[in-house]
Structures are given as C-alpha cells and as structure tokens.
C-alpha cells in the first residue's frame, strides 16, 4: 500500500483522478494556462497536457512566485488538479490552496510524496484518502 503525507488535507472525501506524473519541475506561472489548465511551457516534457482534474505529481516547482495566483485561478474556475502530490512542501503552490479555502472555493488537497514514491504511482485513475492512503478504484 502506498501512502503520501497529508499537507493540506480535504476531509470531504477521497480525491480521485487520473495520475499525471510530471517528469520535470514546472512553474505554474508561465507554465500552465490559468484559463484552461493546459501546460504551455514549450520546454516542458508534458507541454500540451491538461492538469485539470488530475492527480498531479510534481517532482519540483521552479520559477515564478505568481504560481500561487495561477493555482488560485484554476481553483476558482474548478479546473485545478484533483490533488497535488509534491516531492517537497512548496510554499508558493500551497498558498494558492490556503487562499482558495479562505475565499470559500474548493482547493485540491495536497500531499507530500517523494520522487521515488511518485515514480511508483500506478498509471490511470487513483484515489487518495484524507490520511494519504493511495488506492486504485
């Protein structure tokens, strides 16, 4: 059984979505279109993929401090990832979740899962419980 460490949990039930495991760090600002959730950084290996509704595994975040604003906009538009799996806690992305909750929107839960754990994620649809347990449906 795999388990991620809850950072920013959502107790309303398990998060579910298809796994999108990024193979390179991503700056949400300049890297994700806030209107669509599509990856637009042309140098990124997953450029063109949409992060909306996915269980997004991030090996690292880089670049702009506006990434929190891009995540908040995705949250407002309800096209954010279903869950975030971060190799390390990242204040810039997590603040988007914190403010999303303050605004009364539905931020995704965030968990810590190191790169080795991310590499072992199953392909396809997964569920993550509030305590971090990862299941296949």
């Amino acid at each position: 059984m795999m388990r991620a460490e809850p950072l920013f949990p959502d107790h309303k039930g398990p998060a579910e979505g298809p796994v999108l495991a990024l193979t390179a760090p991503l700056s949400f600002w300049g890297g994700v279109d806030p209107a669509t959730g599509r990856i637009i950084q042309v140098r990124h290996p997953q450029c063109g993929r949409s992060i909306a509704g996915t269980v997004l595994a991030l090996p690292g975040t880089i670049g702009s401090s506006s990434s929190s604003a891009v995540l908040l906009e995705l949250i407002r538009l309800e096209i954010a990832p279903a869950a975030l799996l971060l190799a390390a806690p990242d204040a810039i992305l997590l603040i988007g979740c914190v403010v999303g909750r303050e605004m009364g929107w539905r931020p995704p839960p965030a968990f810590r899962l190191d790169e080795a754990g991310q590499a072992r994620l199953p392909a396809g649809q997964i569920l993550i419980l509030a305590d971090g347990e990862i299941r296949t449906p």
């Binding site: 460490e5 950072l7 988007g96």
Partner: protein, 460 residues
C-alpha cells in the same frame, strides 16, 4: 473605476461564512505516516506569541486576522516553529492572472486592510505611466485595473516594478523581509544580503498586513550557506566582461541549483549591478533559486570559508564551453534570422540600460517593434531629451508592466529577439513568439535591420 468602488461579489459572501475561519491547525502537527520511508523531516510545532494570538482573534481587526491566518497556516505547512517580524515587503500579487486575484485583493480592501510595513509593488497588468496598449479584453482590462487600485488602496507604494531594488527599496544587510517576484527575491537575498524566502502571491501581502512572516528557509542563517560551487574561472576575461554572458551563467546556475544555494567563482572584478540583476533573473527562471553567492562580489561571500560555513570539499561544477553552449542554446527556440520584434527589460531596465540603447541606436530608427520595459523610477532618472530621443527612434517605452505578463505584442507567430534570460524563458509560453537570445547590441541592430545574424563575437 474608482478605487473605492465596491465589488458585488464581496457583498455576496460575508466574511463570517468563510469555512476557513475555524480551520487553522496551529497546534501539534501530524506525525510522519507509517509505511513510507521516513523522510527525516523535522516536524515542528508552530508557537505563536500572545500578540500574534490576539491578532488571530480579530483584536486588530478582520484584515490583520485574515492575513495572519494565511501566514500562520503557511508556517505550519512549511514546518516553521515561529513567526518573525519583517521590515518590508515587495508585493507580486497585483498582476492580473484571472479574476480570483482581484476578488481576493478587494476582499482585503473591504476588510480595511493596510500594510503594516513599507511595501513596494511589482508589475501590474497595465501600463498606467506610459500608456502602452495591451490587448486585454474589456472585462480583463477592468479587473486588472481594479486589482492594481486595490493594492494601492492598501497603502502599497505604486512603484510598479520588478526591480524595486533599483527604485530605492534596498533593505539592510541581515534584515528579514517578505519579498515576492523571483528575480527581486534573488537580488534581495544575494546582492543586498537581506533575508527573504520566495514569497508567493498572496503570502507577500499577507505578511505585509500582518507585519510577520514564517521563520524558515532563507530567514535562517544556516540555510544561506553554499553547498556547491560553479566555477567560471576557465572563461576568457573578455567573455566574463560581457553583459551577454550573465543570463547564460544564471541559467546554468539555476539548472544546477534547483533549490540549493551555490557559490559562483571566477567572476570577481567583472560584476556590475545590472549584470547581477540579469544573472539572478535567469537563475530564478531556470530553478527555484532564492539565493546565490558570487565569491568576492556578494556580501555573504567575501571568502570560501564564510560562504560555506567552513564546509570543505564542495562539489565543483566547472563551466566548460560545452555546458555554456548548451545553456546558451537553450535560451533560443529558433535560429531564424528574421526578427519580428525586440524586447528588453526583464528585469526592468535601469536608466543606464536605457541610455545604452540610445547610444547603440546612435541616431538610427527601429524598423521592428522594440519594447523597452522599465519602471517609473528609471524613466524619471532619464532627462526629458533622452526619453524623447528613444521615442523618436521608434522605441516603445513600457512602464509598470512588461510584454510577458500582459498581452502587448502583435498577435502573430513571430520571432522575438531579447537580451533577457527571463524573457527568453517565458516568452514562448506566454506570448506565442519563438525567441532568439542575443546581446543588447545585436538586439538593437536586429530592430533596425529586421535581421539577427548568427553571432560569434564574445563567445568564440
């Protein structure tokens, strides 16, 4: 729209209905879950002072309470054990990315939020000073303007620049501050020696209103030491003395560093403030760089012993011609010699850089759109005839914003020439233009002729 115009949305969601109001977990942190390998991360319990608890309990008003809730929740997430007072802030939240940012800022204004410390503003989505046109549709234009006015209403200084450190905002060596905007963070930590983490949008204004920030990361002296070395001593003196090298070395540093702190050797005697600015911007675009040291140049790197804290046998990455060529090549996404537009000024041009454009034009007019992005501080530092000469040469002066943060370039599948490592990094995704990275001299010539030769120059 006047700055005090009420937002309908704010009235629809009363503050007291926020689910988050009671949801702050500041007491014990959860233990490491069993089953996964122990990550050796020390779990800290956040302890707040009586004054901070009083602020959380609304005793200073709703706005400081909301701000401190955000600060404390971030502190918990990042494992900080306490908050610290900050001396100043640089706020990156006033740039329009969508209505959510405007709604958040207007909620703060509605609650009566005022910054508790001096706070400069990073770029916005509109050029309010020079009036350079954006292609924002009416709704987005209105929301971008409301956002900028909301931040001014909170008492932030209308500096509207990503180079606040060249607009008089230079916190003291060793002081704790809360800065956003990745290049400003890198400059503030590295060149000024003030201490800041990479504050994301919203946390920066929350720290400015609360006057406090989570104590972790680069606020702690032990996390500011170099753990690797990037050695530039093998490069020719001519190259090290060329502006065009610095964004390339910065890119290389950012790619190698990730979130680590390193020291660059072999550049003493070649640094200028604008070169350090260009280095930091490129480094912070390529990696999660908050701090770099340049031996014999930046204040925390007078010698190896100081910058490493006495650690020995640091991994050394020599900057070889191959590594340099790869990093430089990565800054361009096309080799097209036909150029449709030129953009400079990320970070915003200093007055000296604008004067260099004028000098390199030497009376010629540009044949392609040439955007020189800068701040009010630099425009004011230029003499009126200097500003007029730039305009007469066909240069589009852009203040308060820049070409990668708001739609300004003509909507074509064009090729953009730039001397900025940061523009080179972000322009393809944000503008749709392919980029050619080149020196300022080459960019100016390309704007005049419409063509950029495959240069050799300093690189050979």
């Amino acid at each position: 729209m006047p700055r005090d115009a009420p937002s309908k949305v704010l009235h629809m969601i009363p503050f007291t209905s926020f689910p988050a109001h009671h949801s702050l977990h500041i007491i014990p942190c959860r233990r490491q879950p069993a089953g996964e390998k122990n990550q050796n991360r020390q779990k800290m319990t956040l302890t707040l002072t009586p004054e901070e608890r009083a602020m959380l309990a609304d005793e200073a008003g709703h706005a400081p309470a909301l701000a401190l809730r955000i600060v404390a929740e971030t502190a918990r997430l990042m494992g900080a054990e306490k908050l610290i007072p900050v001396a100043s802030a640089h706020i990156d939240g006033a740039l329009y990315h969508g209505d959510s940012g405007t709604l958040f800022a207007e909620r703060l204004v509605e609650l009566g939020a005022k910054v508790a410390v001096p706070a400069t503003l990073n770029v916005g989505g509109l050029d309010l000073a020079c009036g350079a046109k954006t292609r924002l549709p009416p709704h987005q234009h209105d929301m971008a303007h409301r956002l900028m006015m909301a931040y001014e209403a909170m008492g932030c200084e209308p500096s509207w620049t990503c180079a606040p450190y060249q607009a008089g905002h230079r916190p003291a060596l060793g002081s704790d501050v809360a800065w956003g905007e990745s290049n400003a963070v890198a400059f503030c930590n590295s060149v000024l020696g003030a201490r800041t983490n990479r504050y994301g949008d919203f946390l920066d204004i929350a720290c400015a209103i609360a006057g406090h920030a989570p104590y972790y990361g680069l606020h702690k002296p032990e996390n500011r030491r170099a753990t690797f070395m990037l050695d530039c001593s093998g490069l020719s003196a001519a190259l090290r003395g060329s502006d065009v090298l610095w964004p390339v070395i910065g890119t290389l540093y950012g790619q190698e560093a990730g979130t680590a702190v390193g020291v660059v050797t072999g550049l003493a005697g070649f640094a200028t403030e604008d070169r350090l600015k260009a280095f930091g911007a490129a480094a912070a675009s390529a990696g999660a760089v908050g701090l770099f040291h340049i031996l014999g140049v930046t204040p925390e790197a007078p010698d190896m012993k100081t910058v490493t804290g006495g650690a020995e046998n640091l991994p050394v990455i020599p900057v070889t011609p191959e590594r340099l060529a790869k990093a430089r090549g990565g800054l361009s996404t096309t080799q097209s010699s036909a150029i449709d537009a030129v953009a400079i000024g990320s970070p915003h041009c200093s007055a000296e850089e604008l004067r260099e454009v004028l000098q390199r034009l030497s009376g010629r007019k540009v044949a392609r759109p040439f955007y020189a992005c800068t701040g009010r501080h630099a425009l004011l530092a230029l003499a009126r005839p200097e500003r007029q000469a730039l305009i007469d040469a066909g240069v589009t002066l852009v203040a308060d914003t820049c070409i990668v943060v708001t739609p300004m370039l003509a909507e074509i599948a064009g090729v953009l020439a730039t001397n900025s490592g940061k523009f080179a990094h972000y322009a393809p995704g944000n503008t749709g233009y392919a980029v050619r990275y080149a020196s300022l001299a080459e960019c100016v010539d390309a704007a005049v002729s419409g063509h950029l030769a495959n240069e050799t120059g300093a690189w050979s």
